[in-house]
Protein backbone atom coordinates (compact mmCIF):
# COMPACT_ATOMS: atom_id res chain seq x y z
CA UNK A 1 0.00 0.00 0.00
CA UNK A 2 1.36 3.37 -0.91
CA UNK A 3 2.10 6.15 1.53
CA UNK A 4 -0.51 8.33 -0.09
CA UNK A 5 -3.38 5.98 0.52
CA UNK A 6 -2.52 5.58 4.16
CA UNK A 7 -2.89 9.25 4.99
CA UNK A 8 -6.29 10.02 6.41
CA UNK A 9 -7.81 12.41 3.92
CA UNK A 10 -11.41 13.26 4.56
CA UNK A 11 -12.45 14.04 1.03
CA UNK A 12 -13.33 10.96 -0.91
CA UNK A 13 -15.61 10.59 -3.90
CA UNK A 14 -17.46 7.72 -5.54
CA UNK A 15 -17.10 6.78 -9.17
CA UNK A 16 -18.91 4.09 -11.08
CA UNK A 17 -16.74 1.93 -13.25
CA UNK A 18 -19.24 0.44 -15.65
CA UNK A 19 -21.77 -1.13 -16.23
CA UNK A 20 -20.68 -0.08 -19.72
CA UNK A 21 -16.94 0.33 -19.65
CA UNK A 22 -14.41 -1.16 -22.04
CA UNK A 23 -12.13 -2.31 -19.22
CA UNK A 24 -14.79 -4.42 -17.52
CA UNK A 25 -15.36 -6.51 -20.70
CA UNK A 26 -19.10 -6.69 -20.25
CA UNK A 27 -21.79 -5.40 -17.99
CA UNK A 28 -19.95 -5.35 -14.70
CA UNK A 29 -20.24 -2.34 -12.44
CA UNK A 30 -17.63 -1.56 -9.82
CA UNK A 31 -18.43 1.10 -7.26
CA UNK A 32 -15.16 2.77 -6.33
CA UNK A 33 -14.60 5.08 -3.38
CA UNK A 34 -11.63 7.14 -4.46
CA UNK A 35 -9.16 9.34 -2.67
CA UNK A 36 -7.73 11.23 -5.57
CA UNK A 37 -6.23 8.61 -7.85
CA UNK A 38 -6.15 5.98 -5.09
CA UNK A 39 -8.84 3.43 -4.39
CA UNK A 40 -10.13 3.36 -0.82
CA UNK A 41 -12.89 0.84 -1.35
CA UNK A 42 -14.14 -1.16 -4.30
CA UNK A 43 -17.39 -3.04 -4.49
CA UNK A 44 -18.34 -5.08 -7.57
CA UNK A 45 -22.06 -4.82 -8.32
CA UNK A 46 -23.37 -7.88 -10.13
CA UNK A 47 -26.58 -9.01 -11.73
CA UNK A 48 -26.83 -6.96 -14.90
CA UNK A 49 -27.03 -10.04 -17.11
CA UNK A 50 -28.44 -12.57 -14.70
CA UNK A 51 -30.38 -15.09 -16.80
CA UNK A 52 -31.40 -17.67 -14.20
CA UNK A 53 -29.49 -20.55 -15.76
CA UNK A 54 -29.94 -22.62 -12.60
CA UNK A 55 -33.69 -22.13 -12.61
CA UNK A 56 -33.86 -22.74 -16.36
CA UNK A 57 -32.27 -26.11 -15.74
CA UNK A 58 -35.12 -27.11 -13.46
CA UNK A 59 -37.85 -26.70 -16.05
CA UNK A 60 -36.35 -28.44 -19.03
CA UNK A 61 -35.14 -31.95 -19.70
CA UNK A 62 -31.54 -32.98 -19.07
CA UNK A 63 -30.59 -32.71 -22.73
CA UNK A 64 -32.33 -29.40 -23.21
CA UNK A 65 -30.01 -27.70 -20.74
CA UNK A 66 -27.06 -28.41 -23.03
CA UNK A 67 -27.12 -25.13 -25.02
CA UNK A 68 -27.17 -23.17 -21.74
CA UNK A 69 -23.80 -24.55 -20.64
CA UNK A 70 -22.03 -22.93 -23.57
CA UNK A 71 -23.67 -19.62 -22.89
CA UNK A 72 -22.25 -19.12 -19.43
CA UNK A 73 -18.60 -18.88 -20.36
CA UNK A 74 -18.66 -18.33 -24.08
CA UNK A 75 -14.86 -18.33 -24.32
CA UNK A 76 -14.32 -21.83 -22.96
CA UNK A 77 -17.72 -23.28 -23.74
CA UNK A 78 -16.52 -26.85 -24.26
CA UNK A 79 -15.24 -27.21 -20.69
CA UNK A 80 -18.69 -26.27 -19.40
CA UNK A 81 -20.25 -28.78 -21.78
CA UNK A 82 -17.77 -31.30 -20.49
CA UNK A 83 -18.62 -30.68 -16.84
CA UNK A 84 -22.33 -30.99 -17.44
CA UNK A 85 -22.22 -34.16 -19.56
CA UNK A 86 -19.80 -35.84 -17.15
CA UNK A 87 -21.97 -35.24 -14.10
CA UNK A 88 -25.11 -36.42 -15.88
CA UNK A 89 -23.29 -39.47 -17.26
CA UNK A 90 -22.23 -40.32 -13.73
CA UNK A 91 -25.79 -39.88 -12.50
CA UNK A 92 -27.27 -42.03 -15.27
CA UNK A 93 -24.42 -44.55 -15.32
CA UNK A 94 -23.52 -44.11 -18.98
CA UNK A 95 -20.19 -45.49 -20.19
CA UNK A 96 -18.39 -43.22 -22.64
CA UNK A 97 -16.30 -44.72 -25.47
CA UNK A 98 -12.62 -43.94 -25.21
CA UNK A 99 -12.42 -42.20 -28.57
CA UNK A 100 -15.16 -39.81 -27.49
CA UNK A 101 -13.23 -38.92 -24.32
CA UNK A 102 -10.10 -38.23 -26.35
CA UNK A 103 -12.02 -36.02 -28.76
CA UNK A 104 -13.51 -34.19 -25.78
CA UNK A 105 -10.07 -33.53 -24.32
CA UNK A 106 -8.56 -32.42 -27.65
CA UNK A 107 -11.36 -29.99 -28.45
CA UNK A 108 -11.58 -28.67 -24.89
CA UNK A 109 -7.83 -28.02 -24.76
CA UNK A 110 -7.89 -26.26 -28.14
CA UNK A 111 -10.76 -24.21 -26.78
CA UNK A 112 -8.67 -23.39 -23.70
CA UNK A 113 -5.86 -22.11 -25.93
CA UNK A 114 -8.33 -19.94 -27.83
CA UNK A 115 -9.68 -18.57 -24.54
CA UNK A 116 -6.19 -17.73 -23.29
CA UNK A 117 -5.30 -16.11 -26.61
CA UNK A 118 -8.36 -13.88 -26.43
CA UNK A 119 -7.55 -13.01 -22.83
CA UNK A 120 -3.97 -12.19 -23.85
CA UNK A 121 -5.15 -9.83 -26.56
CA UNK A 122 -7.83 -8.17 -24.44
CA UNK A 123 -5.52 -7.81 -21.45
CA UNK A 124 -2.82 -6.09 -23.45
CA UNK A 125 -5.54 -3.95 -25.00
CA UNK A 126 -6.57 -2.89 -21.47
CA UNK A 127 -3.01 -1.75 -20.90
CA UNK A 128 -3.00 0.24 -24.11
CA UNK A 129 -1.36 -2.04 -26.66
CA UNK A 130 -3.51 -2.66 -29.69
CA UNK A 131 -1.31 -4.70 -32.04
CA UNK A 132 -0.95 -7.93 -29.96
CA UNK A 133 -4.75 -8.25 -29.94
CA UNK A 134 -4.80 -8.54 -33.73
CA UNK A 135 -2.00 -11.13 -33.76
CA UNK A 136 -3.75 -13.15 -31.04
CA UNK A 137 -7.03 -13.04 -32.93
CA UNK A 138 -5.26 -14.28 -36.04
CA UNK A 139 -4.16 -17.39 -34.12
CA UNK A 140 -7.49 -17.77 -32.36
CA UNK A 141 -9.25 -17.71 -35.71
CA UNK A 142 -7.37 -20.87 -36.72
CA UNK A 143 -8.78 -22.69 -33.69
CA UNK A 144 -12.29 -21.41 -34.32
CA UNK A 145 -12.10 -22.63 -37.92
CA UNK A 146 -10.97 -26.06 -36.74
CA UNK A 147 -13.71 -26.30 -34.13
CA UNK A 148 -16.31 -24.94 -36.52
CA UNK A 149 -15.60 -27.67 -39.05
CA UNK A 150 -16.10 -30.29 -36.32
CA UNK A 151 -18.88 -28.85 -34.18
CA UNK A 152 -20.72 -26.60 -36.62
CA UNK A 153 -20.48 -23.52 -34.48
CA UNK A 154 -17.82 -20.99 -33.66
CA UNK A 155 -18.55 -20.03 -30.08
CA UNK A 156 -21.48 -21.80 -28.41
CA UNK A 157 -20.57 -25.29 -29.48
CA UNK A 158 -22.85 -27.62 -27.46
CA UNK A 159 -20.86 -30.44 -29.02
CA UNK A 160 -20.75 -33.08 -26.30
CA UNK A 161 -23.66 -35.40 -25.67
CA UNK A 162 -24.53 -37.78 -22.87
CA UNK A 163 -22.50 -40.82 -23.83
CA UNK A 164 -20.16 -39.27 -26.38
CA UNK A 165 -19.92 -36.44 -28.85
CA UNK A 166 -22.33 -35.19 -31.49
CA UNK A 167 -20.15 -35.84 -34.54
CA UNK A 168 -16.92 -37.68 -35.15
CA UNK A 169 -14.00 -35.44 -36.11
CA UNK A 170 -13.50 -35.02 -39.84
CA UNK A 171 -10.37 -36.03 -41.72
CA UNK A 172 -9.02 -32.47 -41.82
CA UNK A 173 -9.17 -31.99 -38.08
CA UNK A 174 -6.07 -33.92 -36.94
CA UNK A 175 -3.69 -32.46 -39.58
CA UNK A 176 -5.24 -29.04 -38.98
CA UNK A 177 -4.71 -29.24 -35.24
CA UNK A 178 -1.10 -30.38 -35.64
CA UNK A 179 -0.42 -27.62 -38.16
CA UNK A 180 -1.92 -25.11 -35.77
CA UNK A 181 0.27 -26.28 -32.89
CA UNK A 182 3.35 -26.00 -35.09
CA UNK A 183 2.28 -22.50 -36.09
CA UNK A 184 1.59 -21.39 -32.51
CA UNK A 185 4.92 -22.83 -31.30
CA UNK A 186 6.61 -20.56 -33.84
CA UNK A 187 4.50 -17.58 -32.86
CA UNK A 188 4.85 -17.84 -29.07
CA UNK A 189 8.46 -16.53 -29.01
CA UNK A 190 7.18 -13.59 -31.04
CA UNK A 191 4.51 -12.90 -28.38
CA UNK A 192 7.13 -13.06 -25.66
CA UNK A 193 9.48 -10.71 -27.53
CA UNK A 194 6.68 -8.30 -28.42
CA UNK A 195 4.75 -8.30 -25.14
CA UNK A 196 6.30 -10.24 -22.25
CA UNK A 197 9.70 -8.57 -22.50
CA UNK A 198 8.25 -5.17 -23.27
CA UNK A 199 9.36 -2.64 -20.68
CA UNK A 200 6.02 -0.85 -20.54
CA UNK A 201 4.13 -4.07 -19.79
CA UNK A 202 6.68 -5.16 -17.21
CA UNK A 203 6.52 -1.89 -15.30
CA UNK A 204 2.73 -1.99 -15.39
CA UNK A 205 2.53 -5.56 -14.05
CA UNK A 206 5.58 -6.42 -11.99
CA UNK A 207 5.19 -6.01 -8.21
CA UNK A 208 1.72 -4.60 -8.69
CA UNK A 209 -1.65 -6.11 -7.84
CA UNK A 210 -0.65 -8.66 -5.23
CA UNK A 211 -3.04 -11.47 -4.39
CA UNK A 212 -1.94 -13.54 -1.43
CA UNK A 213 -2.61 -17.29 -1.08
CA UNK A 214 -4.68 -16.50 2.03
CA UNK A 215 -6.90 -14.23 -0.05
CA UNK A 216 -7.36 -17.00 -2.61
CA UNK A 217 -8.39 -19.45 0.11
CA UNK A 218 -10.70 -16.93 1.74
CA UNK A 219 -12.62 -16.15 -1.43
CA UNK A 220 -12.27 -19.54 -3.09
CA UNK A 221 -10.26 -18.32 -6.04
CA UNK A 222 -9.09 -21.06 -8.39
CA UNK A 223 -7.41 -21.42 -11.74
CA UNK A 224 -4.62 -19.16 -12.97
CA UNK A 225 -5.43 -16.62 -10.22
CA UNK A 226 -4.63 -19.15 -7.48
CA UNK A 227 -1.71 -20.64 -9.41
CA UNK A 228 -0.29 -17.14 -9.84
CA UNK A 229 -0.26 -16.90 -6.04
CA UNK A 230 1.67 -20.12 -5.58
CA UNK A 231 -1.24 -22.48 -4.92
CA UNK A 232 -0.62 -25.63 -6.92
CA UNK A 233 -4.15 -26.70 -7.67
CA UNK A 234 -5.54 -27.86 -10.97
CA UNK A 235 -8.60 -30.10 -11.16
CA UNK A 236 -7.13 -31.91 -14.17
CA UNK A 237 -4.25 -33.07 -11.99
CA UNK A 238 -5.62 -33.24 -8.48
CA UNK A 239 -9.13 -34.62 -9.08
CA UNK A 240 -8.56 -36.15 -12.51
CA UNK A 241 -11.53 -36.64 -14.77
CA UNK A 242 -11.96 -37.90 -18.33
CA UNK A 243 -8.65 -39.21 -19.76
CA UNK A 244 -6.41 -36.49 -18.31
CA UNK A 245 -4.37 -38.92 -16.13
CA UNK A 246 -2.97 -40.49 -19.29
CA UNK A 247 -1.19 -37.33 -20.37
CA UNK A 248 2.06 -35.90 -19.20
CA UNK A 249 1.74 -32.18 -18.52
CA UNK A 250 2.85 -29.68 -15.91
CA UNK A 251 0.90 -27.20 -13.85
CA UNK A 252 2.60 -23.81 -14.14
CA UNK A 253 2.79 -22.19 -10.70
CA UNK A 254 4.26 -18.76 -9.98
CA UNK A 255 4.56 -17.95 -6.28
CA UNK A 256 4.87 -14.18 -6.49
CA UNK A 257 1.18 -13.26 -6.70
CA UNK A 258 1.48 -10.07 -8.74
CA UNK A 259 -0.24 -9.37 -12.06
CA UNK A 260 2.82 -10.56 -13.96
CA UNK A 261 2.65 -13.97 -12.26
CA UNK A 262 -0.91 -14.50 -13.45
CA UNK A 263 0.12 -13.38 -16.92
CA UNK A 264 2.96 -15.89 -16.98
CA UNK A 265 0.74 -18.72 -15.71
CA UNK A 266 -1.63 -18.31 -18.63
CA UNK A 267 1.15 -17.99 -21.20
CA UNK A 268 2.68 -21.23 -19.87
CA UNK A 269 -0.71 -22.94 -19.84
CA UNK A 270 -0.99 -22.37 -23.58
CA UNK A 271 2.18 -24.45 -24.00
CA UNK A 272 0.93 -27.17 -21.65
CA UNK A 273 -2.40 -27.37 -23.49
CA UNK A 274 -0.50 -27.80 -26.75
CA UNK A 275 1.40 -30.70 -25.15
CA UNK A 276 -1.88 -32.34 -24.11
CA UNK A 277 -3.37 -31.95 -27.59
CA UNK A 278 -0.27 -33.47 -29.20
CA UNK A 279 -0.24 -36.46 -26.85
CA UNK A 280 -3.99 -36.99 -27.24
CA UNK A 281 -3.74 -36.92 -31.03
CA UNK A 282 -0.88 -39.42 -30.92
CA UNK A 283 -2.91 -41.78 -28.72
CA UNK A 284 -6.30 -41.20 -30.38
CA UNK A 285 -7.98 -44.62 -30.55
CA UNK A 286 -10.45 -45.83 -33.15
CA UNK A 287 -13.98 -46.80 -32.31
CA UNK A 288 -17.41 -45.35 -31.84
CA UNK A 289 -17.91 -41.79 -30.59
CA UNK A 290 -21.27 -42.45 -28.99
CA UNK A 291 -22.16 -45.00 -26.35
CA UNK A 292 -24.37 -47.62 -28.01
CA UNK A 293 -26.58 -47.97 -24.95
CA UNK A 294 -27.14 -44.26 -24.32
CA UNK A 295 -30.86 -43.93 -23.54
CA UNK A 296 -32.92 -41.50 -25.59
CA UNK A 297 -35.10 -40.37 -22.71
CA UNK A 298 -32.83 -39.82 -19.76
CA UNK A 299 -34.04 -40.50 -16.22
CA UNK A 300 -31.01 -40.64 -13.90
CA UNK A 301 -31.37 -42.46 -10.60
CA UNK A 302 -32.35 -40.47 -7.52
CA UNK A 303 -29.36 -38.82 -5.94
CA UNK A 304 -27.04 -35.92 -5.52
CA UNK A 305 -24.04 -35.62 -7.83
CA UNK A 306 -21.15 -33.18 -8.04
CA UNK A 307 -18.39 -32.85 -10.56
CA UNK A 308 -15.75 -30.21 -11.14
CA UNK A 309 -13.77 -29.45 -14.27
CA UNK A 310 -10.84 -27.14 -14.87
CA UNK A 311 -11.84 -24.35 -17.20
CA UNK A 312 -9.62 -21.58 -18.51
CA UNK A 313 -10.68 -19.46 -15.54
CA UNK A 314 -10.60 -22.01 -12.76
CA UNK A 315 -12.57 -24.82 -11.25
CA UNK A 316 -16.14 -25.03 -12.48
CA UNK A 317 -18.30 -27.21 -10.26
CA UNK A 318 -21.71 -28.48 -11.16
CA UNK A 319 -24.06 -30.17 -8.74
CA UNK A 320 -27.20 -31.90 -9.93
CA UNK A 321 -29.92 -33.36 -7.77
CA UNK A 322 -32.09 -35.89 -9.53
CA UNK A 323 -35.47 -37.06 -8.30
CA UNK A 324 -35.67 -39.76 -10.93
CA UNK A 325 -37.72 -37.80 -13.45
CA UNK A 326 -36.73 -36.45 -16.84
CA UNK A 327 -35.93 -32.97 -15.49
CA UNK A 328 -33.30 -32.04 -12.89
CA UNK A 329 -34.66 -31.30 -9.42
CA UNK A 330 -31.86 -28.86 -8.70
CA UNK A 331 -28.90 -27.66 -10.69
CA UNK A 332 -26.22 -25.66 -8.93
CA UNK A 333 -23.44 -24.05 -10.91
CA UNK A 334 -20.28 -22.96 -9.16
CA UNK A 335 -18.51 -20.61 -11.51
CA UNK A 336 -14.84 -19.75 -11.03
CA UNK A 337 -14.96 -16.11 -12.09
CA UNK A 338 -17.49 -15.25 -9.39
CA UNK A 339 -14.99 -16.28 -6.71
CA UNK A 340 -12.09 -14.74 -8.58
CA UNK A 341 -13.87 -11.40 -8.80
CA UNK A 342 -14.86 -11.47 -5.11
CA UNK A 343 -11.27 -10.86 -4.03
CA UNK A 344 -10.99 -7.78 -6.20
CA UNK A 345 -12.43 -5.51 -3.49
CA UNK A 346 -9.77 -6.53 -1.00
CA UNK A 347 -6.89 -6.81 -3.44
CA UNK A 348 -7.23 -3.37 -4.99
CA UNK A 349 -7.39 -1.31 -1.79
CA UNK A 350 -4.86 1.49 -1.87
CA UNK A 351 -4.00 0.95 -5.51
CA UNK A 352 -3.91 3.49 -8.29
CA UNK A 353 -6.93 3.23 -10.56
CA UNK A 354 -4.96 2.24 -13.70
CA UNK A 355 -3.12 -0.44 -11.71
CA UNK A 356 -6.42 -1.77 -10.39
CA UNK A 357 -7.66 -2.07 -13.96
CA UNK A 358 -4.54 -4.04 -14.82
CA UNK A 359 -5.30 -6.29 -11.84
CA UNK A 360 -8.87 -6.71 -13.01
CA UNK A 361 -7.67 -7.62 -16.48
CA UNK A 362 -5.31 -10.21 -15.04
CA UNK A 363 -8.27 -11.94 -13.31
CA UNK A 364 -9.66 -12.82 -16.77
CA UNK A 365 -13.30 -11.99 -16.09
CA UNK A 366 -16.12 -13.29 -18.23
CA UNK A 367 -19.19 -11.48 -17.00
CA UNK A 368 -21.99 -13.81 -18.25
CA UNK A 369 -20.38 -16.52 -16.17
CA UNK A 370 -20.34 -14.41 -12.99
CA UNK A 371 -24.05 -13.70 -13.25
CA UNK A 372 -25.12 -16.98 -14.88
Amino acid sequence: MSAFAQTQLKETFVINLGPQHPATHGVLRVKLVMDGEYIVEAEPVLGYIHRMHEKMGENRTWAQFMPNTGRMDYLHALAYNHGYVTVVERAAGIEVPERAEYIRVITAELNRISSHLLWFGAFVLDLGGFTPLLYAFDDREQILDLLESVTGSRLTYSYFRFGGVYNDIDENFVPGALAFIKRLRERLPMYHALVTKNVILRTRLEDIGFITPEMCRKYGATGPVARGSGINFDVRKHEPYSVYPEFNFDIPVYPKGDSMARYMVRMDEIEQSMRIVEQAIAKLPDGPVMAPKAPKILKPAKGDYYHAVETARGSFGIRVVSDGTNTPYRLKLRSPTFSNLSLFGEACQGMLLPDALALMGSLDLVIPEIDR
Partner: protein, 147 residues
Amino acid sequence: MIGYLKEIFSGTWSLFVGLGITIKYFFKPVVTVQYPREVLPMTPRFRGHIELTRDPETGGDKCIVCGMCQKACPSNCITVVGDKVEGAKKKALSRYILDFTKCSLCGLCVESCPADAITFSKDYNLAGPSREAYIFDLKKRLEERKG
Protein backbone atom coordinates in the same frame (compact mmCIF):
# COMPACT_ATOMS: atom_id res chain seq x y z
CA MET B 1 24.01 3.30 -11.03
CA ILE B 2 25.18 0.76 -13.59
CA GLY B 3 22.07 -1.30 -12.92
CA TYR B 4 19.90 1.75 -13.50
CA LEU B 5 21.56 2.53 -16.84
CA LYS B 6 21.34 -1.12 -17.83
CA GLU B 7 17.64 -1.09 -17.10
CA ILE B 8 17.11 2.01 -19.24
CA PHE B 9 19.09 0.48 -22.07
CA SER B 10 17.36 -2.93 -21.97
CA GLY B 11 13.96 -1.25 -21.64
CA THR B 12 14.54 0.94 -24.66
CA TRP B 13 15.90 -2.03 -26.57
CA SER B 14 12.70 -4.02 -25.83
CA LEU B 15 10.69 -1.26 -27.47
CA PHE B 16 12.82 -1.48 -30.62
CA VAL B 17 12.44 -5.26 -30.67
CA GLY B 18 8.66 -4.82 -30.54
CA LEU B 19 8.77 -2.22 -33.31
CA GLY B 20 10.89 -4.57 -35.42
CA ILE B 21 8.28 -7.31 -35.06
CA THR B 22 5.38 -5.07 -36.01
CA ILE B 23 7.30 -3.71 -39.02
CA LYS B 24 8.04 -7.28 -40.13
CA TYR B 25 4.35 -8.15 -39.87
CA PHE B 26 3.41 -4.97 -41.69
CA PHE B 27 5.01 -6.33 -44.87
CA LYS B 28 3.51 -9.82 -44.53
CA PRO B 29 0.40 -10.74 -46.51
CA VAL B 30 -2.96 -9.59 -45.15
CA VAL B 31 -4.86 -12.25 -43.19
CA THR B 32 -8.26 -10.59 -43.09
CA VAL B 33 -11.06 -11.05 -45.63
CA GLN B 34 -12.89 -8.02 -47.03
CA TYR B 35 -16.23 -9.46 -45.98
CA PRO B 36 -19.05 -8.07 -48.12
CA ARG B 37 -16.89 -8.29 -51.25
CA GLU B 38 -15.24 -11.61 -50.41
CA VAL B 39 -17.22 -14.39 -48.77
CA LEU B 40 -15.67 -17.49 -47.26
CA PRO B 41 -17.40 -20.82 -47.89
CA MET B 42 -19.31 -22.22 -44.93
CA THR B 43 -18.20 -25.54 -43.48
CA PRO B 44 -20.51 -28.47 -44.28
CA ARG B 45 -21.47 -28.90 -40.63
CA PHE B 46 -22.34 -25.25 -40.06
CA ARG B 47 -25.43 -24.96 -37.88
CA GLY B 48 -27.70 -22.28 -39.28
CA HIS B 49 -31.45 -22.24 -38.78
CA ILE B 50 -33.24 -25.44 -39.76
CA GLU B 51 -34.70 -26.20 -43.17
CA LEU B 52 -36.84 -29.07 -44.43
CA THR B 53 -35.06 -31.57 -46.65
CA ARG B 54 -36.54 -32.57 -49.96
CA ASP B 55 -37.64 -36.11 -50.62
CA PRO B 56 -36.04 -37.02 -53.96
CA GLU B 57 -38.94 -39.36 -54.84
CA THR B 58 -41.90 -37.12 -54.23
CA GLY B 59 -40.26 -33.72 -54.40
CA GLY B 60 -42.03 -32.79 -51.17
CA ASP B 61 -40.94 -32.95 -47.54
CA LYS B 62 -39.98 -36.05 -45.59
CA CYS B 63 -41.76 -35.01 -42.39
CA ILE B 64 -43.93 -37.64 -40.71
CA VAL B 65 -45.46 -35.14 -38.24
CA CYS B 66 -44.31 -37.08 -35.17
CA GLY B 67 -43.56 -33.90 -33.20
CA MET B 68 -40.20 -35.12 -31.86
CA CYS B 69 -38.44 -31.90 -32.86
CA GLN B 70 -41.15 -29.88 -31.16
CA LYS B 71 -40.59 -31.86 -27.95
CA ALA B 72 -36.80 -31.70 -28.14
CA CYS B 73 -36.60 -27.94 -28.59
CA PRO B 74 -35.48 -26.18 -25.37
CA SER B 75 -37.06 -22.86 -26.36
CA ASN B 76 -40.36 -24.09 -27.85
CA CYS B 77 -39.71 -22.43 -31.17
CA ILE B 78 -41.03 -25.21 -33.42
CA THR B 79 -44.70 -25.80 -34.20
CA VAL B 80 -45.57 -28.71 -36.48
CA VAL B 81 -49.09 -28.83 -37.88
CA GLY B 82 -50.27 -31.88 -39.80
CA ASP B 83 -53.52 -32.74 -41.53
CA LYS B 84 -55.19 -36.06 -41.99
CA VAL B 85 -55.21 -37.01 -45.62
CA GLU B 86 -58.11 -39.05 -46.97
CA GLY B 87 -57.05 -42.58 -47.72
CA ALA B 88 -53.53 -42.33 -46.34
CA LYS B 89 -52.60 -43.76 -42.94
CA LYS B 90 -50.08 -41.11 -41.97
CA LYS B 91 -50.62 -37.44 -41.37
CA ALA B 92 -49.21 -35.01 -43.92
CA LEU B 93 -47.37 -31.84 -43.01
CA SER B 94 -49.35 -28.70 -43.66
CA ARG B 95 -47.26 -26.11 -41.80
CA TYR B 96 -43.87 -26.15 -40.10
CA ILE B 97 -43.47 -22.93 -38.15
CA LEU B 98 -40.01 -22.00 -36.85
CA ASP B 99 -39.86 -19.00 -34.54
CA PHE B 100 -36.26 -18.04 -35.22
CA THR B 101 -36.38 -15.18 -32.71
CA LYS B 102 -36.24 -17.79 -29.91
CA CYS B 103 -33.94 -20.36 -31.54
CA SER B 104 -30.51 -20.84 -29.98
CA LEU B 105 -29.13 -23.03 -32.81
CA CYS B 106 -28.39 -26.00 -30.56
CA GLY B 107 -29.37 -28.62 -33.13
CA LEU B 108 -31.31 -30.91 -30.78
CA CYS B 109 -34.24 -30.93 -33.24
CA VAL B 110 -32.14 -32.25 -36.12
CA GLU B 111 -30.70 -34.93 -33.87
CA SER B 112 -34.11 -36.07 -32.65
CA CYS B 113 -35.71 -36.33 -36.09
CA PRO B 114 -36.31 -40.02 -36.97
CA ALA B 115 -37.02 -39.33 -40.65
CA ASP B 116 -34.09 -36.99 -41.47
CA ALA B 117 -36.67 -34.44 -42.50
CA ILE B 118 -34.80 -31.39 -41.22
CA THR B 119 -31.28 -30.14 -41.76
CA PHE B 120 -29.25 -27.03 -41.10
CA SER B 121 -29.23 -24.23 -43.63
CA LYS B 122 -26.11 -22.23 -44.40
CA ASP B 123 -27.80 -18.85 -43.92
CA TYR B 124 -25.88 -16.66 -41.53
CA ASN B 125 -26.40 -13.10 -42.63
CA LEU B 126 -30.10 -12.76 -42.01
CA ALA B 127 -31.68 -9.33 -41.80
CA GLY B 128 -35.29 -8.32 -41.56
CA PRO B 129 -37.44 -5.27 -40.96
CA SER B 130 -39.65 -6.76 -38.24
CA ARG B 131 -39.90 -9.47 -35.63
CA GLU B 132 -42.47 -11.31 -37.77
CA ALA B 133 -39.94 -11.65 -40.57
CA TYR B 134 -38.20 -14.31 -38.47
CA ILE B 135 -41.21 -16.55 -38.02
CA PHE B 136 -40.55 -18.89 -40.90
CA ASP B 137 -42.92 -21.39 -42.45
CA LEU B 138 -40.41 -23.99 -43.55
CA LYS B 139 -42.97 -25.82 -45.70
CA LYS B 140 -43.50 -22.68 -47.73
CA ARG B 141 -39.74 -22.09 -47.92
CA LEU B 142 -39.27 -25.61 -49.22
CA GLU B 143 -41.85 -25.09 -51.95
CA GLU B 144 -40.29 -21.79 -52.99
CA ARG B 145 -36.76 -23.18 -52.92
CA LYS B 146 -35.34 -24.68 -56.07
CA GLY B 147 -33.34 -27.88 -56.02
